[in-house]
Symmetry: C2
Subunit: 241 residues, 2 copies
């Protein structure tokens, strides 16, 4: 076979979290890194970098994410491999992209300076390479998974009120949901179970706390999820690995 | 960043079809290619090959599949990128794997000789590299997608009887399904609609022909599905691209 190519193999990561938007409601946000070299010098791009010899793909995603943003999500899921011919102006680069969710308190600990910033998902700057396409696809994967998995959990703690869960759905789907309908749908779905506890720190009639029924998680974790260290795979599933 | 690696990038494909099993019912089958060079010389492996400079990932999957098996499915979907450190004994190889379904008549036209053979999915030989893991994952993806998409269509023609559709489900899920329950579930799901036509060539009271309601296809095609030529994306969705 002629013309075999040894492309640069890069690994990038899309990390979503929820941030307070202008009107006080939660909005979906992601961190971007400003490029400090050509091509696209000065433009915003997804955190990432090249694959090193001594690491597998998920490890490369974790390492480059930590180096660029200081974020260290415990679970990364592979999104897609992007290999269009024209996606980088100079070299042939194939990017294997991971995605993850982080809770807001983790996101608060991330780097945030002139070269690393969080942007609202519906108000992104112009992105380098095909990263706008990648973010769009990660958003659609997130929205699809919200419908058939317990992925909303990744934004929340282990327990949450139904109002908190609804806020996640509203932010991800970018539309308001009727509180009563949402409550009835969630309660009848069997996806969440009441813990019997109530939110502390609220004055009177504090709302009930729920948790996901982890026996019914349908999410597809990918073929290698049992091969990685337990510490790397718990954000999206809660404590039950 | 030190130790940057330029791995061999390979593209492989898992293609499923239905074949008559020993008891006459349909069983899931896939083509394998016997390796003619080290490593794993003489062992069976998934069809595939290296990425060439002038082609994107899906084109490489199509080309290597055509070259090794003569199969040319009109739609390939990316499955996963496999990049574990130890997956190839000599070089570092990252494999981007695609998967597809082909109807039985297409499968009949594939090469079938001492170096290319169809195997039943539940009776595979020992496979080279991590290809057994890859096939397992493709099977689990197929089974998951069967539940929330119209992927069974890929094994059938545009129209089909409910008995034919049930046979697909039975083969993929590898368990018998109650015909009455299956009919009621399918009819009430709204996923299939009666065409008003009946199977020809059957003596009396021929069964009704159905087709998928393509307005409700929920399948995630991947981010690049709108970028490839229409001729390459119709097997799994029927005629409505």
């Amino acid at each position: 076979m002629s013309e075999v190519v040894f492309p640069n193999l890069a690994v990038s990561t899309v990390i979503f979290t929820l941030r307070p938007g202008e009107d006080g409601t939660s909005e979906l946000a992601l961190p971007l890194v400003r490029r400090i070299r050509a091509p696209y010098e000065g433009q915003w791009a997804l955190p990432g970098g090249p694959l090193n010899a001594n690491e597998d793909l998920a490890q490369a995603a974790s390492r480059t994410l930590l180096a660029t943003t200081s974020l260290q999500p415990r679970y990364l899921e592979q999104l897609y491999a992007f290999g269009q011919l024209d996606r980088s102006p100079d070299d042939r680069v194939v990017s294997i992209v991971y995605w993850a969710l982080v809770a807001s308190d983790e996101a608060d600990r991330a780097l945030n300076n002139e070269n690393v910033q969080w942007f609202l998902a519906d108000d992104l700057p112009e992105l380098a390479f095909d990263h706008a396409l990648i973010v769009d696809y990660a958003l659609s994967r997130l929205r699809t998974k919200l419908e058939y998995s317990q992925i909303a959990h990744g934004f929340l703690g282990e327990t949450f009120t139904l109002a908190q869960l609804r806020e996640v759905y509203e932010a991800v789907l970018q539309k308001p949901l009727d509180p009563g309908n949402f409550r009835r749908t969630m309660e009848s779905s069997g996806a969440v179970v009441a813990t019997g506890e109530r939110l502390s720190g609220t004055p009177h009639r504090p709302p009930q706390l729920y948790k996901y029924d982890t026996s019914t998680d349908l999410r597809d974790r990918g073929p290698l999820s049992r091969l990685v260290a337990p510490a790397t795979i718990s954000v999206l599933s809660g404590e039950k690995i």
